[in-house]
Amino acid sequence: MSTTASVSQREILFDVQNLNVGFATLDGHKPVVHNFNLRLHKGETVAIVGESGSGKTVATRALLGLAGDNALVDAEVLRYREQSLLTVKPREWKALRGAQIGYVLQDALVSLDPLQPVRREIGEALEAHLDLDRNQRQQSILELLTRVGVPQPEVRQDQYPGELSGGLRQRALIATALAQNPPVIIADEPTTALDVLVQNQVLQVLRALIKDGTSLILISHDLSVVASLADVILVMKDGRVVESGATEQVLHHPQHPYTKALIRAIPGAHTRGRRLSEAPSTLESRRDDIAASASSTRIGEVLLEARSLQKMFKAPDGQPIYAIRNASLQLKKGEVLGIVGQSGSGKSTVARILLGLTAADSGAVLYQGIEWLKRNHQDRRLVRGKIAMVHQDPYSSFDPRWTVARILNDVLSLYGGGKKTQRQDVLRLLHTVGLNQQHADAYPIHLSGGQRQRVAIARALAVNPEVLVLDEAVSALDVSIQAQILDLLIDLREQYDLSIIFVSHDLGVIHHIADRVLVMKDGEIVEEGLAQEIFSTPRHAYTQELIAALPRLEHTAFRRAA
């Protein structure tokens, strides 16, 4: 990698100084981005990192003239090459967007037109500016798809977004941004919501672009994702850039406390047994090494067991598809069992069968040695209170008509307790998960993602469970919020003596929290063992692949040097 000195001699593509963006609302002017500075040199990659709501998307949309109709954009300097973007007319933007600046929108799953085959989507992007005949265009489409690493482009180009996996959709979206070969690409959260393997593939595509000389502005909430690509990192919080500098500088010598918190929040091998967030523990007598000691001493007898579970679905053409094939597992008292795998590996189905929400075709689930799913609805209810669940998307797991207090009351009333004490119980529960009285009468719609997940955890705790099953419970959260929730879980496990099944596609999270790990692939458990063993000496090729794909901060310097 070239040094900063040589970079500064290159052409400046984007020059932004003191950019302010605000929105006109009914309550007056609402500033969102303050004094944003950015300089993008040719061939350089700048990453903007921050949690949701930090203004990173708004700031970059202003660079594209897409801040919105009610947005007020002003800046000392806002230039693309020699052209000031402050005075660009709507018509002139067309010449810039696509041809000069490619934009990869945030959500690949909804950013492609579901009624158009990929070929048309990319063809449209080509058509807007380039004058190509039919054959040339066809040729370009295939080249673009090949360039972003879509296998079998001849077949894929005729498919609709709904027929493509998340990773392929993201790559198709990048292909549309690349269509006119712009010198700059802005990619907003290009790997969020993707599995680690797929994420790695998308990062490879971006890496290839950088190699070809494209300049990149990357937006992400996850430092570890951008670390291996970026030359410069800007850290944003509450609409301000709190730290900026060369990647090595920011990662290894962070100055601002928020940057330090972000780095600290990334879960993985090095974080086992320590807290990820700076939030105070909800436990009064908490020691930092408590998780490490708990995992080795507390584990007791088998609490929940699954024996040779099998679940099959029929594809539309009648072909059987195995969601789960001969899966057996044991959860011991006091342990955290991580189930890891890509989407479609059957890990969520296993969790649902354990909870009795999906019936297995064959096999048995035993709770404390009793086969509980073969019983009728009434008898099952006795066990229900022992196994509680936290969904991936907490918002959809709440009745939209209910306030937080009613959601919790609903469960409390189920497991005894007089009416009088209920309000106190609700407040006590909220306190346990780090919320307070003010949240009790709010509707879930007004809560943030992290707060909703806390309410979901409070609800699960309200039944006073022995086992907590978390299905991708932190996957939709920002790294910084995820850190708080993971810390909370470790606290609660200690406080309530919980056994936890933690389903996730994120190996870092699993490595951080799990004592024992199951690796699933195509409905089968391919590897099982203690977390340390699995991560240090993976035996199965698939596990090795997963671990190799994991973005890691400590590897950054090494990878970049290579």
């Binding site: 709501g53 209810r381 006795l382 509680a388 009745d399 780090g434 709010a442 509707y443």
Partner: protein
């Protein structure tokens, strides 16, 4: 009205804190959107006209004035006069009661029929579901008006029977809506969560599935009230609705059609009244529904 929250793990700011007291409701009423105010006003005046039409109108709805037929809007006749010189404004006011009752009653009948039918169609056993589904589809394949015609012919002509007939005619469409919503709610994560928490089936059904399945009906029934009035006017047009001396709005619309070219106001004005009432119910119901979920409008 909750204000947006600040994220974070501590020190949170929240608007919705206490249960609304009546004083609080009054204070909040001042912040209601203008449209909701207007809707409430329209419904209030229609209701007033239904209860005590004499206090709002100066003329009798039946008083004819053959020297002033199809008269223009004037100080004496605010909305003009009809083909035999009856005051249109007074007719509108005196017709409100029947129209209002036909609209509301027809909707109540439609909902009472549609909700159980829709739920039956969403029941788990496939044969039951298929059977009720087919029945709804057969009913849907008849135009609402045709079904209403059939029933009004069987039951006889009276405002009540018109309401029953229109209600029966409208029911299959709403049943379909309830069915779809019920299937959606059944497979929702919050129903799953309730089951996983160990609630009884009955409780899940009454606490979650039924209220949430009926929810989308609320704004739709607002519009339905207006539609019912229009259908009753179609019946009047065919001579099967509320009988002529009555100034039920549907009857006014039907009568106005005859004078469409000479005096379009005879059809435009009652038509506007129907649409206003329908939109007002719809707006108000949507608002109430949104508020009950804590959503901002």
């Amino acid at each position: 009205m909750a204000t947006p929250l600040l994220d974070g793990h501590s020190g949170l700011v929240l608007g919705a804190t206490q249960k609304p007291s009546s004083w609080r409701l009054l204070r909040e009423a001042r912040r209601l959107p203008l449209l909701v105010w207007l809707s409430a006003a329209v419904i209030f005046f229609t209701a007033w006209a239904s209860i005590a039409p004499g206090t709002l109108a100066r003329h009798s709805p039946l008083e004819t004035d053959l020297l002033n037929t199809l008269g223009p809007l004037s100080a004496d006749h605010w909305l003009g006069t009809d083909e035999i010189g009856r005051d249109l404004y007074s007719r509108l006011v005196f017709g409100a009661r029947e129209s209002f009752l036909i609209g509301i009653l027809a909707m109540i009948i439609a909902i009472v029929l549609a909700v159980p039918l829709g739920f039956l169609a969403s029941l788990p056993p496939p044969f039951a579901r298929a059977a009720v589904d087919r029945i709804i589809e057969i009913l849907l394949s008849f135009p609402t008006l045709l079904v209403a015609l059939l029933f009004v012919t069987i039951l006889g002509q009276s405002p009540f029977n018109v309401a029953v007939a229109v209600g029966i005619g409208a029911a299959p469409g709403y049943a379909r809506l309830v069915r779809g919503q019920s299937l959606l709610v059944r497979s929702s994560a919050y129903v799953e969560a309730a089951i996983a928490l160990g609630h009884t089936r009955a409780r899940v059904l009454f606490q979650h599935i039924i209220p949430n399945s009926i929810r989308p009906l609320i704004p739709v029934t607002g519009l339905g009230i207006g539609k019912a009035i229009v259908w009753s006017s179609s019946l009047s047009y065919l001579g099967l609705g509320v009988k002529p001396p009555s100034s039920e709005w549907g009857a006014l619309l039907a009568a106005g059609k005859v004078q469409l070219l000479e005096a379009p106001s005879l059809i435009v004005i009652p038509g506007t009244a129907v649409v206003l009432v329908a939109l007002s119910f719809s707006t108000l119901f949507s608002y109430i529904q949104a508020r009950s979920e804590g959503a901002k409008t």
